[in-house]
């Protein structure tokens, strides 16, 4: 039974879609690595992380579909929405680049994701809480994995250090968006339905800076101008290409099932 506070609440639905879309797009990106990882173990690790994210996505979409009604399903939400309807963080649509680029993107999302879910354990919505409770255990391992790689590459050889420092500089403008509430998110925060990511920003920053220090990397996160728009459907040029791949079968053969 879903409470009426959430049913037909467009802000709430948009926010659940934002969580789902962010995970889906990152999972899709990570899946591009499958069979191309630098070594077998890491190829497998990346695919496993993608699988966790995809499973969480499915939980969120199913819940959003329940709130939307009108015949919406997890499949229609993933396969039949256009670019401007997608609400993922810009960070997650950035290209994989080399292994270091992927690690930096993952590190920023994982560390944020971990703190976000931890805060969301306290939401009143039991359905959302159950998805979060499940996801948090998985994301803990993702965070360990990407943090470890930040340190290994940063505090590795001169070449690995330079490459990951450059990757870090490139990704930095996409980090700030995680903490800027979209209008639908702001409304829900004001109603007390969801926590504000600003609440855990200091704790997140401290953890991230610890890792960066150990990795001998430098980043001025606070003073980097953030690129934003993903949460409200304004994307980089990359998303269209991702969706073209992702939605190809369903767009080409409508209602295809197997």
């Amino acid at each position: 039974m879903t409470s009426t506070v959430y049913q037909n609440n467009q802000n709430y639905i948009d926010f659940i879609l934002h969580l789902a879309d962010t995970n889906l797009i990152l999972a899709q990106r990570l899946c591009e690595w499958c069979g191309h990882g630098p070594i077998l173990e890491q190829d497998i690790a990346i695919s496993n992380i993608a699988l966790d994210l995809l499973g969480q996505t499915s939980n969120y979409y199913n819940y959003a579909a329940e709130l939307i009604g009108n015949g919406a399903t997890e499949d229609t939400l993933a396969m039949l929405r256009n670019e401007r309807e997608y609400k993922n963080l810009l960070l997650t649509e950035l290209p994989n680049g080399h292994f270091g680029d992927t690690i930096v993107r993952q590190f920023f999302y994982d560390s944020f994701h971990y703190f976000l879910l931890e805060q969301f354990l306290k939401v009143k919505d039991l359905k959302l809480q159950s998805i979060v409770e499940k996801s948090l255990k998985e994301v803990k391992y993702h965070t360990k994995w990407s943090s470890e790689w930040m340190i290994r590459l940063g505090d590795g050889t001169q070449e690995s250090h330079d490459k990951i420092q450059e990757a870090l500089n490139n990704v930095l403008p996409y980090v700030g968006e995680m903490f800027i509430a979209a209008p639908y998110q702001k409304a829900l925060i004001e109603e007390g339905l969801i926590p504000d990511p600003i609440n855990f920003k200091a704790a997140w920053l401290a953890k991230v800076n610890d890792i960066l220090e150990e990795a001998t990397l430098t980043a001025d996160i606070e003073n980097t101008y953030p690129q934003k728009g993903g949460k409200v459907g304004v994307h980089t040029e990359h998303l269209g290409f991702i969706l073209t791949d992702l939605q190809y079968m369903q767009r080409t053969y409508p209602n295809l099932q197997w």
Binding site: N48, L126, S147
Partner: protein, 163 residues
């Protein structure tokens, strides 16, 4: 024929985990509840080990098939996320079977709450040494990590702790 909940639990002992067939779905701790309603419907509540675990639909089908073989028809499998699955729900017997199969079972309290530390002192399922090292946080499936024994040098899968 009147079937009891106890008998259903008994039938489920024979339903293997699709990925580690030496242990049953009961050993794994994914079956959370069995209930027979007044109108003789059988409700089996299961919980996923991982959000994206591809084995869940296979487990669901296996349970249904097993109960159909026992003559039951009105079967309802319920997927429940919360309380979320923990390795503490695995049976001691299941852990022993897993070890004999070559997978190091989850060690209680091995998982540190420190976000950035590894699970230490994992026992090698081949030689029993605890002098082992982590190769990768992720193994052949999301629920396992890869380790190597520093004594007998055998690599092995470790079933990760989930609290």
């Amino acid at each position: 024929m009147v079937i009891t909940e106890k008998e259903i639990w008994h039938y489920l002992e024979d339903v293997p985990d699709p990925e580690i067939p030496v242990i049953s779905v009961l050993d794994l701790g994914v079956v959370r509840n069995v209930e027979i309603t007044e109108d003789e419907k059988v409700n089996v509540t299961i919980t996923p080990t991982y959000s994206g675990c591809p084995a869940m639909s296979a487990i669901s089908i296996s349970i249904r098939k097993k109960l159909i073989q026992q003559g039951l028809r009105n079967i309802n499998i319920i997927n429940q996320l919360s309380p979320s699955w923990t390795t503490d729900w695995m049976t001691e017997e299941g852990k022993q079977k897993m070890k004999a199969y070559g997978i190091a079972p989850p060690t209680k309290n091995a998982s540190s709450d420190d976000l950035f530390s590894d699970e230490q002192n994992i026992e090698c399922p081949q030689c029993g040494s605890t002098d082992t090292r982590l190769i990768s946080q992720f193994g052949s499936t999301a629920c396992k990590a890869m380790y190597q024994c520093n004594d007998c040098h055998e690599p092995f899968d470790y079933f990760k702790c989930h609290h």
